[in-house]
């Protein structure tokens, strides 16, 4: 028994009803969040994407028929209500934009009834994600998701304005393309007209944007949908969106400059956060050495320390054999965590093993009996060697030192991950702290053990740094590229 909205025109969204409208008649439409009956009065919290608005139904205003109708309202019914804006008769709700106001309804229409949803439409939700994804259209009614998508729209909109002002052209590139040689697996689309042949969905617009440069469109950007058929990994999507741009007749500095200013503009306009320019630059090599990652989270320290030289002649076989094989020994200092229970240290060790490490060496500075050190490898070391190690790690009594020994790439991966894990456990990652970083001078190539050959680290059309060109044939892994990435909080 849905009613027509014929003759009604929505005048305001719920959250737009403001103090200045007191005394005026408004028409609002939305979803019933909640109904409360208070004797001769019925209160409805009406919701749309702008927020909540309280409606009050009194038989004297809405009539007996309207009041009876209001009594049938349940959560998620879609209604239209006409009424007068008033200052709330009852207590104000300071948590609500419209918390001082209510609308005294004179005309109610039920535009759509609703079944009971499988989970309540509210932010403090404990429903498992599978159910939320199955009923995504209900999940999307929740204020936090509505806020996220509204911010996303605003970001895209502001980015377009900014890029347009900077002289960029927004040009779409095709979705049905040719399979790309590098990178992840392609999603393939079979061709009906060419039996046995396939299109690939783009992993990025890389080749097309370079063709656009050849074609003279000297500043291009696109908010581009990309597709990668990757194995299950945390928080990846098979189709995702890139902010993509390309410029002609520019240096790396020019590209970084325009991106920095775009990010500064977005953060200022959307969040009121001031990003200081220029954004810090860090060569790839330094990022790996200090943070064990090519996208370091620099919101906290706990930097890696290379102690290879200190332990080169020690008696601990794990250290010395890793060094003999051309690897390194590095550590991190988790300050103040020396009394971490053995169980938790074991969990960290398991995590390291899961990444391919043979183990994890630890040293709890001064945390044993009578201020002795608790250390997994003390018996292999001379006391002065241990002290030198602690000194190099800037270890103070109560600190937890973790060491990994293996080939560099594994040591970086293990300690880089442990560093993040410890930061998570110690709550060091503040969401409202935004630390941007440019990582520069990426290697041109990286060796893939899986493929048994060098692969392009970014894409095969990256320019090498001129002075490294001689190494291309002799030592390809050493060649740096004119490639850079923007990193924010480790992403």
């Amino acid at each position: 028994m849905a009613e027509s909205m014929q003759g009604l025109h929505r005048t305001h969204r719920c959250g737009e009803v403001s103090q200045e409208l007191v005394g005026q008649t408004v028409t609002v439409m939305g979803w019933v969040q909640k109904r409360r009956n208070l004797g001769s009065l019925i209160f409805i919290d009406l919701r749309d994407r702008s927020g909540l608005l309280q409606l009050i139904f009194d038989e004297n205003d809405v009539g007996p028929e309207g009041f009876a109708k209001a009594e049938t309202l349940r959560s998620e019914f879609v209604i239209a209500a006409v009424g007068r804006v008033e200052t709330r008769s009852g207590a104000f709700n300071e948590n609500l934009k419209t918390g001082h106001l209510e609308v005294r309804v004179t005309d109610l229409r039920i535009l759509s009834q609703a079944d009971t949803p499988p989970f309540p439409i509210e932010d403090d939700i404990r429903t498992r994600e599978e159910l939320r994804l199955q009923y995504r259209y209900l999940d999307l009614r929740r204020p936090s998701l509505q806020r996220n998508l509204m911010i996303r729209s605003q970001v895209a909109n502001l980015a377009r304005q900014f890029m347009s002002r900077e002289g960029f052209l927004e040009i779409e590139t095709p979705m049905l393309t040719k399979s790309t040689p590098e990178g992840a697996r392609d999603y393939l689309v079979p061709s009906r007209i060419h039996p046995g042949a396939f299109y690939a969905l783009p992993q990025s617009p890389q080749l097309f944007k370079q063709l656009l440069m050849c074609a003279g469109y000297d500043r291009y950007f696109q908010i581009a949908r990309c597709f990668r058929d990757e194995d299950l990994r945390a928080d990846r999507q098979p189709d995702f969106t890139q902010m993509d741009l390309e410029m002609s007749f520019v240096t790396e500095e020019d590209v970084m400059d325009v991106n920095e200013r775009l990010l500064q503009y977005l953060f200022r306009e959307v969040l009121g956060v001031e990003v200081t320019l220029p954004i810090q630059r860090m060569p790839y090599r330094e990022a790996m050495d200090r943070f064990g990652s090519d996208k370091p989270d620099v919101r906290f320290g706990m930097e890696l320390v290379n102690v290879s030289e200190l332990v080169r002649d020690c008696g601990f076989g794990v250290f010395t054999s890793a060094l003999a094989a051309g690897g390194s020994v590095r550590g991190i200092n988790v300050e103040g965590q020396g009394h971490m229970p053995r169980k938790k240290i074991d969990a960290l060790t398991d995590m390291a093993k899961g990444m391919g490490a043979k183990g994890l060496a630890y040293l709890c500075v001064g945390c044993g009996e009578n201020g002795a050190h608790k250390c997994s490898f003390a018996k292999f070391m001379k006391p002065e060697e241990l002290e030198a190690l602690i000194h190099a790690m800037d270890g103070k009594p109560g600190d937890l030192l973790l060491f990994a020994a293996d080939k560099d790439s594994l040591v970086f991966n293990v300690l880089g991950s442990l560093r993040l894990e410890m930061a998570r456990q110690l709550d060091l990652l503040k969401k409202d702290d935004f630390r941007f970083l440019w990582v520069t001078e990426f290697p041109l190539l990286e060796y893939s053990e899986e493929e048994g050959r060098y692969m392009a680290m970014h894409h095969p059309f990256t320019m090498p740094v001129e002075e490294d060109l001689p190494f291309l044939e002799t030592d390809p892994g050493r060649v740096r590229a004119k490639a850079y990435d923007i990193v924010l909080n480790g992403n």
Binding site: E129, E130, L133, Q134, Y135, R136, N148, L149, I151, R152, V155, A156, K178, P181, E182, S191, R192, P195, S204, P205, Q206, L207, Q210, L211, M213, C214, G216, Y220, I223, D229, L232, A234, D235, Q237, M243, L245, E246, M247, S248, F249, V250, D254, V255, M256, L266, F267, K431, F434, L445, R453, Y454, P460, F461, L472, E473, P476, K482, D485, I486, L488
Partner: protein
């Protein structure tokens, strides 16, 4: 560069000859950048996952729990595409 990547000249040409050709007709020096908009918006909103800033995301196994994609298709569609599935349904 392609030699270092293990491509023969022929392979490189087959894969992206169109771009190599284009470079023969006058290519300006150029450079660019791309980064994930999903992740940027995730950080800006304080969301815990990029699924929270995508209207219709896939689940962790790359399926869409709302629409049921990916799904089998009509035999007729496969015939038109000259495709036959050889894997048995799990």
């Amino acid at each position: 560069m392609f030699a270092a990547l293990g491509f023969t000249k022929e392979e490189a040409h087959k894969r992206f000859g169109f771009l190599l050709d284009a470079f023969r007709y006058g290519v300006p020096p150029h450079g660019g950048l791309a980064y994930g908009l999903d992740r940027l918006v995730m950080l800006m909103t304080g969301a815990d996952s990029i699924r929270e800033v995508i209207a219709f995301p896939k689940a962790k196994d790359a399926s869409c729990l709302l629409t049921g994609a990916p799904d089998t298709v009509d035999e007729k569609q496969l015939e038109e595409l000259t495709i036959r599935c050889v894997t048995e349904e799990k």
